[in-house]
């Protein structure tokens, strides 16, 4: 015991000394030396690994959290021999699942080991406007000419640009997807309850505004349906339709009245039994995309209990249909499972959800190559551009997955008809949907604050806390976890 104490004492003295010796100037010099060391180490490492592959190709270090952007770049190199002769793309792909992507990316950014990277809506503002913005070059600095004009010509949704604009007012990141949201609903249920499955008419049944939406929910309830799967579906719409975000200009926490209203919305949904009380991205949430009574492809009974309802629809952008719902419907053509029994229409309030932004760094050593890639991905509106192929599902051969893209010009000339929506051209809905979205409410801490918020809302709806207690705890937790004070 005595020894332990003396040891700790000794250690703390050592720390103290380390502290006194570490005046700011030496610290700076040290960190610079470290940086250069790390850089040289990174370079030598790169050289050694690429010697066998390429003689004098320039290296592009690409960081991404899914294989989407890396595959695009590979495709570009395949189809552009000039580019392929000059550059070698080295992909570092780290999933965001357990939060490994950001620490690794941040370290690599500090050491200058990144030329180009992808960032998701949940954290992109950190790299365009937040702490890490200092490492990111504007598109102009990368060498892309007339960025603003090109954005205008491509008719890229305003929120995409807002999110990607750095503190100097220059664009430093753009997406290729458009993630403006729609309401994605089941045609058969619409037919049963509203007597029509026409998106133009269903639009008026569920909106505009929440009041109309609740009316629709009540109607659906009468016939035994739930309007959404869980309150999370509604949250995405509420979150990105409010006029202020979680932080005010002073960086203090504020709760927008529209967001505060989510307490009542969530409670209303639960008390009235208008949903199945699922959470997004859980098995139960996925299961609601299938038919309740339907067995799945293998003939096994679905995991459903007696009190769950068939669900009318989901709030979401195009990717939710084409990457998520389509995988859950137990079918590949109309008549199988719920495939083809879907349609999209204008949501009661405009919102957006998710998206990937592409950024280049200030330390980038292959600026021309990165600029070429970024321009092709985000600004090229020709039929050879990434977005045209992405929108029409032709990037990797015919009949690929179609998705909404950032450029409205591309969307307008693309064919958004998908069998999943029974031949509906989804771009008719998603092009205007982008205009409703507002990128100003996003903050770099959204992911964390939202988790705390939704948690406290659940405490309220499950009857464990009053609304006032939940809001007070929410503020306390944000203060504790994120060191963000409440504005009031």
């Amino acid at each position: 015991m005595k020894k332990a104490i003396s040891l700790i004492a000794a250690l703390s003295i050592m720390i103290g000394c380390a502290g006194c010796g570490n005046s700011s100037s030496t610290a700076d010099a040290g960190s610079k030396a470290e940086e250069s060391k790390a850089e040289s180490a990174a370079e030598s490492k790169d050289e050694s690994s690429d010697e066998a592959v390429s003689g004098d190709k320039q290296l592009i270090n690409l960081y991404a959290f899914t294989d989407e952007v890396p595959n695009m770049c590979k495709k570009y190199a395949e189809t552009h021999p000039d580019f392929d002769a000059k550059y070698q793309i080295k992909v570092t792909q780290i999933p965001t699942t357990n939060g490994e992507y950001q620490p690794a990316l941040d370290q690599a950014l500090q050491n200058g080991g990144v030329d180009m990277f992808a960032a998701e809506a949940a954290f992109v503002k950190k790299y365009t406007q937040g702490d890490a913005a200092k490492y990111v070059a504007s598109y102009e600095d990368l060498g892309i000419a007339d960025v603003d004009q090109k954005i205008k010509d491509a008719e890229i949704a305003q929120y995409t640009v807002e999110i990607g604009t750095n503190p100097d007012g220059k664009v430093a990141g753009l997406g290729y997807q458009a993630t403006g949201g729609a309401f994605i609903y089941r045609r058969s249920i619409a037919q049963d309850v509203f007597g029509t499955d026409d998106p133009a008419k269903v639009k008026d049944e569920i909106g505009p505004g929440w009041d109309k939406f609740w009316e629709a929910a009540a109607k659906l309830k009468e016939k035994g349906y739930g309007i959404v799967s869980g309150d999370g579906d509604v949250w995405h719409a509420v979150e990105n339709s409010s006029s202020t975000g979680w932080l005010n200009d002073d960086g203090k926490l504020v709760i927008d009245p529209k967001r505060e209203e989510f307490f009542d919305i969530s409670k209303k949904l639960k008390d009235n039994g208008w949903h199945n009380d699922t959470r997004d991205w859980t098995d139960a949430w996925y299961a609601d995309m299938r038919d309740q009574s339907g067995a799945n492809a293998d003939g096994e009974a679905d995991v459903k209990t007696a009190d769950t309802k068939k669900i009318f629809g989901y709030f979401g952008p195009a990717w939710l249909i084409n990457y998520t719902i389509v995988k859950q419907v137990n079918g590949e053509k109309k008549g199988e499972g719920t495939f083809g029994d879907w349609a999209v229409t204008e949501p009661p309030i405009g919102f957006f959800w998710g998206g990937t932004w592409v950024l280049g760094t200030k330390d980038c050593k292959a600026k021309e190559g990165v600029a070429e890639l970024i321009e092709w991905i985000t600004l090229d509106t020709t039929d050879d551009g990434l977005q045209y192929k992405w929108a029409n599902g032709t990037l990797y051969g015919a009949n690929g997955t179609k998705d909404a893209v950032a450029s409205s010009v591309v969307m307008k000339k693309s064919d958004g008809k998908v069998d999943m929506l029974d031949g509906q051209n989804m771009f008719d809905v998603f092009v205007p949907a982008n205009a409703n979205a507002n990128g100003k409410t996003l903050t770099q801490y959204d992911e964390d604050i939202n988790l705390i918020w939704r948690d406290q809302v659940r405490m309220y709806t499950s009857g464990q806390k009053t609304k006032e207690e939940a809001i007070a705890d929410f503020k306390q937790k944000v203060q504790d976890d994120l060191d963000i004070e409440s504005a009031d």
């Binding site: 060391k37 790390a38 990174a42 490492k45 690994s49 965001t96 490994e100 991205w281 995988k327």
Partner: protein, 283 residues
Amino acid sequence: MAVRKQKGGEIAFTVFQYVVCIFIAVICLMPFIIMLINATRSSNSIMASAISFVPGKDLMTNYSVFEGKSFNPWTGFLNSVIISVGATACTIYFSTLTAYAIVAYDWKARKAFFMLIMCVLMIPSQVTAIGFFQFMYKIGLVNSFIPMILPSIAAPSVVFFMRQYMQPSLSMDIVQSARIDGAGEFRIFNQIVLPLMKPAMATQAIFAFVASWNALFLPSILLIDREKWTMPIMVSQLAGDMYKTEYGAVYLGLVMTVLPLFVVYFVLSKYIIAGVALGGVKE
């Protein structure tokens, strides 16, 4: 009469033991069965019902997902084997050596050294991680297996265990008699002490191997190059692609991750189960 009663009681007790053990065994085996079966089922049917006792027919379909995703189980396997075997060997050998230094020799700093080990044992691993990562980045040990293997030479918890195990069971008489026979200290350790420690080493080897094989956080931050990825990183990569979730393939990946552990476990468990008692001179 009394004897028969006792026998009846004994049988009842044995039956009770079986019931308890079998019940616990079922609870322990459940996830493995679920994992194995789900590896053969399609992602769709898994999402419909996570638990099924009927194997599906999609094993090869699930495997083909790996190919499409540049998931190379064999590279991952090899990397994991190199790291885990290296780390386990380092941990076991050097921890025993260190424990021997504490138990067998009377050196001045011994007690302080042991206290130090005790203290290190208690450092929350989560946060030294911050310092550790920054240090590794500084000295350029990214994409290297060294940060995964070398630090395991200093495994305080294993040293502690070895010391606790060695203290009562190592007889200095043997050491002394070996010295009289003219054996060097290092040879005494390798040829006499190590064999004595086999049961403890086997136990700790399993723990060390499992821990090293399953490690995800540290390797996933330090091993950036695809070619250097370990099995768990590859599996988490599959699961991390949230837009295109392939549950069947994830389960298959998990099974492939666990299989080598089974092999190692069954090989080493021999020592534990056979009940190798400590040999040598008894008190």
